[in-house]
């Protein structure tokens, strides 16, 4: 038995460690004790997590970390960032090196069930898309029969592409590259008609073109890549805090509360807004947070729309349109359960 334990596969080991460390309430106490949230982020992904020239981290993923810090401490700056590689991100979480992971991580069954992790929500609905040169005159991906396609090798992107073209009985010629920079150069040099990658990345790749205006991103999305914050399994209290910090941002947008008007909104008569800002209803009780936890998030980080536009949307260079990430009542699928 002992021998078998020793040679057991890594996932099982990871699971046992993860289960061993996370107990309800433990993470929140530890975080409060040390005075900051240790948040795992990407080592650099345009618009999602990147350090500016002063060394401050910013991005849509980073804003989730800041929201959690604002909810717990009333101070969004009480976050320390651990830049993580895609391979080490789950280990870092399982071994308690970080308290939460907010690193463009796709929510899948395998990860949710096998790794001892819980996905707390979706802060960006991503999916694979296509970028074509404007003078190709293509308006939809269904017109791409026979096209040559630039892809990064070794990604699920390649498989999704094959599925999509086969399902629509179209032909294509794949041209694979090793890094995103090479892919862009290949596209620019005319080696291929189409470049495919996750949509959030396509916009960043487009900026790398010498004439960004010469290419367009097609509307089709051919795969589901819901990205969201992750916590260790087993500490439900911490899970709730991370999950509702994200929901508070989405709810605030829905209710029209932003960092600019949140103080004025305190005198609003709308019961939904009053519940969000902790003036009535359950307040911070169930989450074991102060009553103004959501107020602090909106005041210091902003609502979801503000975070989106600032980091990846119209306020940034990426200029990603809301698309799927618009609110449910606005043509998208971002939907948060009500605070009541």
């Amino acid at each position: 038995m002992k021998k078998r334990l020793l040679v057991s596969a890594l996932p099982a080991l990871a699971l046992s460690v993860a289960l061993g460390t996370a107990q309800a309430g433990e993470t929140l106490d530890a975080v409060k004790g040390k005075g900051f949230v240790q948040c795992g982020v990407s080592t650099g992904l345009p618009g999602f997590s990147v350090a500016d020239d002063k060394g401050n981290w910013a991005g849509l993923d980073v804003d989730v970390c800041r929201a959690v810090a604002a909810a717990i401490f009333g101070d969004a700056s009480k976050v320390k960032y651990s830049p993580l590689n895609a391979k080490e991100r789950f280990t870092a979480l399982q071994s308690s090196e970080i308290d939460m992971l907010s690193r463009n991580t796709t929510w899948t069954l395998t990860r949710d069930s096998n790794l001892g992790l819980n996905f707390a929500g979706v802060n960006y609905y991503d999916g694979q898309g296509f970028m074509v040169s404007k003078n190709l005159g293509v308006k939809s991906a269904l017109e791409l029969d026979g096209a040559s396609v630039c892809i990064q090798a070794g990604t699920t992107t390649e498989l999704n592409l094959a599925d999509y073209f086969r399902a629509n009985s179209m032909k294509y010629e794949p041209i694979t590259y090793d890094s995103s920079d090479e892919t862009v150069k290949g596209f620019e040099a005319g080696r291929c008609d189409v470049l495919t990658s996750d949509q959030s990345q396509l916009y960043a790749l487009r900026i790398k073109l010498s004439k960004p205006g010469s290419a367009i991103v097609l509307p089709e999305v051919i795969s589901k890549e819901p990205l969201g914050p992750v916590v260790r399994q087993g500490d439900d209290e911490w899970f709730n805090i991370v999950r509702w910090s994200l929901f508070a941002m989405i709810n605030a947008e829905e209710l029209g509360v932003s960092s600019a008007n949140v103080d004025k909104m305190k005198s609003s008569k709308d019961p939904g807004i009053r519940r969000l800002l902790g003036l009535e209803g359950i307040k911070g009780q169930g989450l074991k947070l102060s009553d103004d936890w959501a107020y602090n998030i909106v005041k210091q980080v902003g609502n979801y729309s503000e975070a989106f536009e600032r980091n990846v949307g119209q306020g940034s260079r990426l200029k990603i349109s809301r698309g799927l990430n618009a609110l449910w009542n606005n043509g998208g699928i971002q939907y948060a359960p009500p605070i009541r």
Binding site: K54, P83, E88, Q94, S95
Partner: protein, 364 residues
């Protein structure tokens, strides 16, 4: 009978002397060489002017934002805006004097080592190798001296590159000597096989695997609640890895010492340690200086691999900067800058090693 009168010496034909002569001899001595010369000239002509145009003449040098890069050439604004970060990583700007002090004092401490007349070289060398790293760590981290604590996650840039390479080399050298001696200790089979296994294991795995193990697997094996700093894990991995290479380099030196030297030492009645310390090692180390510097230069460049475990040394810092939405698309400038920086460091090291070799060359 007419007498033979010696006329004045004629100058050699112009095609044999001067510039033309030299050209004919060296570059156009046959059809093949003429062709190769012209081909090389053509290649230089198509490569060099565009590079100079791009990097120097057409480049944008001053400014603060992407908009200042209006010309067709390189955008060095990207590098100058981020220069501080490339050097110090995320180390807080107000605390960067600590990094400067460490490198400044290290430089000052090392200068006497190069003066012939300085008497306490061994003591100073020992201090630099065994004591100074702890002082440097204390100052960088800050906790021991009551300064603001700067966690290792915020160390970065070129200063981190030098820390990784410096610690890796300094710590690997004594370890490598022990391993090399152990591997040659035929009268101690247990110690010998241990050293052989160690060396062959660490030499057989790629550094990237070692780093991955240290950052992905090791935390899972540690007991609950025990955190082990990521930089420290990487440093230990690099040191063990490097010591295996160092051991083999030094073993080469040990083997080059003639048997007579060992026998002479034995004849003088020296014990093992005296024989090794006074006769064998000083000669062996002198022989392997090029090899040591060679592995050290390789290590400096290998440190860039730590970017895969999320440590931001120079190259990692540059890759992070390249992902800033404000600076997307300046990869060429970033990588050119990295290459130049590494080249300067490695080239100065190799010149330095040649200097030491000349100085220590006493001839056998």
């Amino acid at each position: 009978m007419s007498t033979f009168e010696r006329g004045p010496d004629l100058p050699p034909p112009v095609t044999q002397v001067g510039v033309i002569g030299w050209l004919r001899r060296n570059l156009f001595s046959s059809w093949l060489y003429s062709f190769l010369t012209l081909l090389a000239l053509y290649l230089v002509w198509i490569v060099v002017p565009p590079v100079i145009n791009w990097a120097l003449l057409d480049a944008s040098w001053s400014g603060t934002a992407r908009e200042d890069c209006t010309s067709d050439g390189a955008c060095w604004v990207f590098v100058s805006v981020r220069f501080n970060q490339f050097m110090y990583g995320f180390y807080p700007e107000a605390q960067q004097w600590r990094v400067n002090i460490i490198y400044g004092t290290l430089f000052l401490l090392m200068t006497p080592l190069f003066l012939k007349a300085f008497p306490w070289k061994t003591a100073l060398g020992g201090f630099i190798i065994f004591v100074y790293p702890f002082i440097a760590y204390g100052l960088l981290d800050g906790a021991w001296f009551g300064l603001e604590v700067v966690e290792t996650t915020r160390w970065g840039g070129l200063s981190l590159t030098l820390i990784l390479a410096g610690v890796g080399c300094v710590a690997a050298l004594p370890l490598g000597i022990i391993l090399a001696l152990g591997r040659r200790a035929t009268d101690m089979p247990a110690a010998k096989s241990l050293c052989v296994i160690f060396i062959e294991f660490w030499r057989g795995v790629p550094l990237i695997t070692v780093l991955f193990m240290s950052s992905v697997m090791l935390p899972l094996f540690l007991p609950e609640g025990v955190q082990f700093d990521k930089l420290m894990r990487a440093l230990i991995g690099i040191t063990l890895f490097q010591s295996a290479y160092m051991a083999e380099v030094i073993r080469g030196g040990l083997q080059a010492i003639p048997k007579g030297q060992y026998e002479a030492a034995d004849a003088l009645g020296l014990g093992y340690w005296k024989k090794t310390g006074l006769i064998v090692l000083p000669q062996a180390m002198k022989i392997v200086i090029p090899g040591i510097v060679n592995t050290f230069i390789a290590l400096i460049k290998d440190t860039t691999l730590v970017l895969i475990i999320g440590l931001f040394e120079l190259l990692g810092m540059i890759q992070n900067a390249l992902n800033d939405p404000n600076w997307l698309g300046y990869a060429t400038e970033g990588y050119a800058f990295t290459a130049l920086t590494f080249w300067i460091i490695c080239f100065s090291l190799s010149r330095y090693s040649m200097r030491i070799e000349r100085k220590l060359h006493t001839g056998h």
